[in-house]
Every structure is written in C-alpha cells, then in structure tokens.
Symmetry: C2
Subunit: 364 residues, 2 copies
DNA sequence: TTGTACGCGTTATCAC
DNA sequence: GTGATAACGCGTACAA
C-alpha cells in the first residue's frame, strides 16, 4: 500500500460506479463468470458464485441497466402516459401501476399529454427512444385516431389502454363498466322509492358519459319507466355546470325527486343549489354522483357515489402488460378487462336514514 | 425493385427501429457523418446535413437514448421520488416537475417510497442503476439519516430535496416557508379582531408542523399576546383528530374565538364539530386551515387556508437541478430555495363578510 | 465449469 | 468537411 498521499482535492471528482469488469479484475476471473454469478445462471460453481456475490456487496457493485437493456434490446422501463397527473383519478391509477410495476422490477417513466395530441405524439416518440418494455396510456381528449400508436405495435412494444379508449380497433384495454355503474346508481334511487329521476349528463362525445347515460336509461326501463327527455340535462360536469343544470330542472312543471349526476362535481353544484333554494336533500330530492371523489365525504349531506376502482385499474393495466410480455405480445392480441364499479351509499340518497355514518358502505 | 413476394406472415415479427447505421448505409456515408448531422455539429456540410435529416424523416429514424446514454455515461432521465403520489400535494409537485422536465428534454422516472426507508433505499439503487441525470426526492417519514444518499453524491449525481428535508446537512433543497405561512394565517385572524386564537398543531417531530407552530407564536407575540398553552392542542391532523381537538377546546372556561389549524383536514373536523354544537363560523369562532386543499372550497363556509405553491415547488426543484448540472454539480454546493406561501381568505374567517365568493383571493 | 470474442447503437478522438 | 476506430457495460453463442 502506498504511503499517505496528499488527499485528492477533497474528492471533488465524481466516482465511477463499480462495474462487472472491476469485479472480474479484482477476483481474477472473466466477466462471463461475473455475469453468470450475478444472474444466477446454472453453469456456475457455488463457491465462485459466493465469492462473486460477496465481493459485489463489498465493493458496492452497481449494475448498469442501460448497458443490459442495450444488449438485450429492451429495458425494464415502463412508459405510462396520462392526460394529467393532478386529480384523484389518474394519480390513483398511476399509484396502482407504479406499485405493481415496482414489485415486478420495472421502473415507471411517467408523462403527461396535457390533453394535447401533439404532446401525446412526442411522448410516444420519447418513450420508444427510451426503449421501454411497454406503454400504458390513457389517451388525451383531443386524440381522434391511432396513427401515432401504429409505430408502437410495429416495433412489438406491448401497448395497453386504460380508462380512455378509442373504439373500433384491435387493442388491449382496461376500462370501467360505466354503464353498469350508472345502472347501479339509478337502481339505487329507484329502490329508495324515487320515480322521477333526472340525469345530469356529461359531454356525449365522450364514451364514459355516453355509457353512463345509457346505464341510467337501462335502469329506468328495467322498472318500466319511460325516460323523460326534459329530465336529462347535459352539462360540462363542473360545479357551476351542476348548479345551472339543477336550476333548470327546478323550473319544470314537475321537478324530479331524485338526481343522478354523471360526475361528483356537478352533483356538488346541484346540492349547493338545492340547499340555497331550501330544497331538502335527500327528503325532497335524493342525489347520487359518480367517481367517489373526496368531496363526497366533505359535502353535507355526504354524497352517494359510484367508485371507479382507480387503483385496481392501475393494477389490472400492469397485469395485462405482463400477460402480453409472456405471450410474446402476439400482434393480433385483443384483450379487454372490464372492471365492475361499486356504489357507496351515503346520506344524500338514503331516505329514512339521514345521518348515516360516513364510513364506506359498498352495495352489492 | 424485387417482384411481389408472398407477404411475410402478416408482419407478425417485431420490426427493429431504424438506426444511424441504416441511414449511413442508405446514404453511402459514414456513421460519423450521420451523428454529426443529427446533433448539429459544426463541421458538417449543409447539403449533406439536409440530406441526412431528410432521409431520417423519410425512414422514420428513431434515436436510441440508451445507447447515447451508455456512451456519454449519463442519460436524459430524471429520478423523482415521493412518499406517495396520491393526494393533491405531491401530485401537483410532480406535475410541476414533469412539465418543466419534459420541456427541457428530460423524461421522469417516478417512484414512491410509501413512507418506508427500505423502499427509499431500493429506489435510490434503481435510479442510480438507470444512470439518471439527477434525483429529486421528498424523503419518507421514516427516514432519519442520509446514508443511502451518500452514494448519490459520491457518483456526482445532482441531488435535490423538496418539501420534506432532513436538517443539518449540506444539501440542495426547495421548501415552503411554513413558519411564514402560519404567521400570515394567524396575523389575518388578529386583523379580524380575534384575540383568543387556538392552534391545532401537528406532530411536533415533523419540521413542517414545528415551523407552523412557531409562526403562530410569532404572530401572537408581534401583537403582544402571551401564548396560552391550553389553547395549543396537538393532534394527528385527521378529520377526526380535528373534531376531538376542537371538542377539547370548547370545554375550556374561556373558549377561543378563533382557530388556526396546521392542516385542512383537521380544520374541517373542527368546523364539523363547531356546527354540530351550534357554534357559528366565523361569527363565534373564526377558522383558518393550511394547505389549500380542494375541500376548503367544498366545506360550508369555505375555509380560509394557506396555499403551499405545489406546482411552483416542482418547477423550482427542477430548476435547481438544472443549475446544478450547469455548475458541474460542485460537490460542496448547498442551495436553499424557500417559497413564500400565500393566504387565501374565505368565509370561514371573514367577519362581516359571511358570503364571500369562493373565488381565490390572494392576500398580501 | 470457465473463458474468448463479438455485438448492441451511439459518440469522442483522431487522422485525412 | 469527412471517415475509420475505439470505447461505454453487459450478455451470449461458441470454444476450451
């Protein structure tokens, strides 16, 4: 060992991480041996293997995923794209994805399209350039065609859509059964004895809102009720939109005694307006929302709502991805996972039980 | 051009993306030329450059970031770790980071520690293995020391902490001035004429709550008010915690006429309890929360709260990272960015203005 | 069981 | 202004 040298400039220089070559040199064996020991290959002596692992730990060996990925042609990176990460829904889905991915040894590259197709296109390019192992995406609102996804399948990169999906294509997807959710919500109102049920509908060019409206109609006809067009008001699903829509409903000759809103914010708006007009909820008008946002437990009374299984959706999306990997991503694959929604009954729609506990209460 | 061949098994095989070598072969030049043309190198003929770019577009050239990163020893990946992605705060910060990063050509690898040091340690290893260009992290609640971050600085990887920071170290960080936020909140209550102000304090081993408590005390003494220990109640900042704490305050011989809560959920709990006891807000008790969560605009009355500048924090964190990169990540660097909070005054604390618009109203 | 040799796609360093 | 070559760190047929 050399004599004490003047310390090298306070270790100002960055230190290169220990590579396989370092281990090989130190141990006097070839890199192949190192590689095999580390990857638990079968043709490796137990003693050498132990020696390698021990030295790796001692020297703080740090694998270079980039190099491995370059060699194998595919990384352990998973691309995830959402319209935006803010807000409960996508944050929860991403949480679900990340948790599952991390457990399986994947890292998540997260990107946002900001509801912009151009950005979505750029993100896809970036993800492909990063040699991701797969791409999970919820398309932006302005996405109308699949062209920029063609390259993804061409390269054999597993592609899974979740929540927001374009229809009429051979795709793998995970979606919520919105129609069923709306059906449950409406049937619940019917079970409470309401016969005149209004619907605050969302923009009908979006699948989710179209399906929710259909579920509402299904429930009505299952009870032999003829839908009344004047009880269906389309709005933008904002709080203000809900207020306006509710005000409009109250001007009817025969106002409804129940409202099913396709979104929680609009439901809140409706609730605010009802209270401001002195209409009691649920006694005079029962109310159900959709999405099970946090606000449903803050509003007074608490708002009954349909839960979207955000986290399960994330898990399911990742799981579908792994299935595609195992199946060799057969190009003609088309797998659809449909999650079943869950109704949480709360005070805003429970007639005769006005002060129910805010505890989650899953209905069948 | 060859005669029509039997189509190759319905293109079942994955297609390798076009590489620089492909362009070189097609154009009859060397790869060096291609590389230079694509990276806008100075010693390159304008005509050849145009030809290369044109062909690249035509053949749909797709750069391989992995290979570039391997060669250069550092990628365009940015590691971001948060305790969890759910909830408004971290989602917004990540949104801010991702937006800024994407603009600067970086991709974000997002991971969660789930408030677990061990997971945090593993994530750091993973990020380093991915050769990230830098790491932005908000430490988990169970993190007590910096050991697992030592390797990061050793390797010269820029490291930025945001929001949750360990103290007493040479670190780069972006934090909110919690003390100032609490000061603003309390001073606002004083300005409303309240002299007996209680404080719902959070767990005092966490910096943010300690600082908020201090800001509260500062404001009191700036008005020559002697703090009353019985008016300071520590709770877990949950809705239920807020209810319990508020109930306790109401049992005092001289209950307060104002409450500053270190969190919005606890403020909501306090509000609920006050209403259930028939105490009017703000007339009998004025109320201010902290974090400016969505619930503040849902509660009735809307709750005055301190905004944490989530998105700005994300932007600032990324900006700090880029500064470190440009400065060559000088090992002894220590930069602190302190964001100024903003008070949003709402009905819960405005005496004489009970039905103020829910619009955001930034106070000085 | 272990070692040799090569290639993954890109960039930096020379030489021309 | 352009080209040949080496190197980044790792995985894997193939040979020993």
């Amino acid at each position: 060992m050399a004599a004490r040298r003047p310390r090298p400039a306070a270790s100002a220089e960055a230190v290169r991480p220990v590579s396989m070559a370092d281990l090989a040199r130190e141990l006097g064996v070839s890199m192949t041996t190192i590689s095999r020991a580390l990857s638990d290959h079968h043709s490796i002596g137990p003693s050498t293997k132990q020696a390698v692992l021990k030295l790796a730990k001692k020297l703080n060996y740090q694998p270079n995923h980039l190099a491995a990925a370059l060699r194998k042609g595919r990384s352990k990176l998973l691309g995830v794209m959402v319209p935006y990460i803010e807000g409960r829904f996508f944050a929860s889905v991403v949480h679900g994805i990340e948790t599952a991915a991390s457990r399986a040894g994947y890292s998540v590259i997260m990107c946002q399209s900001n509801e912009d197709v151009a950005q979505e296109r750029r993100n896809i390019e970036t993800l492909l350039s990063a040699q991701v192992a797969g791409i999970l995406v919820s398309v932006s609102r302005t996405t109308l065609d699949f062209r920029h996804f063609e390259k993804v399948r061409k390269q054999g990169v597993p592609l899974v859509f979740f929540d927001r999906v374009l229809e009429g294509e051979n795709i793998n997807s995970v979606v919520l059964n919105d129609q069923q959710g709306a059906f449950l919500a409406t049937r619940h109102l019917l079970a409470q004895g309401c016969r005149s049920i209004a619907h605050l509908a969302g923009p009908q060019h979006l699948n989710i809102y179209k399906n929710r409206r259909q579920g509402y109609l299904d429930a009505l006809s299952s009870s032999d009720i003829t839908p009344n067009e004047s009880l269906i008001v389309e709005c933008d699903m904002s709080v203000e939109g809900g207020q306006t829509a509710m005000a409009q409903l109250l001007t009817l000759p025969n106002p409804p005694n129940a409202v099913f809103s396709a979104g929680d914010s609009a439901a809140l708006g409706a609730l605010q307006l009802l209270k401001s007009r002195g209409v009691r909820v649920p006694q005079d008008v029962a109310l159900v929302g959709f999405s099970n946002e946090a606000l449903t437990l803050v509003a007074e009374p608490n708002i009954t709502s349909v839960d979207q299984r955000c986290e399960e959706m994330g898990q399911a999306a990742f799981r579908l991805f792994t299935e595609l990997v195992e199946a060799g991503n057969a190009p003609i694959s088309q797998r659809q996972v449909v999650l079943q929604p869950q109704l949480f009954e709360r005070a805003s729609s429970l007639l005769g039980v006005t002060d129910k506990s805010p505890e989650a209460n899953p209905a069948a």
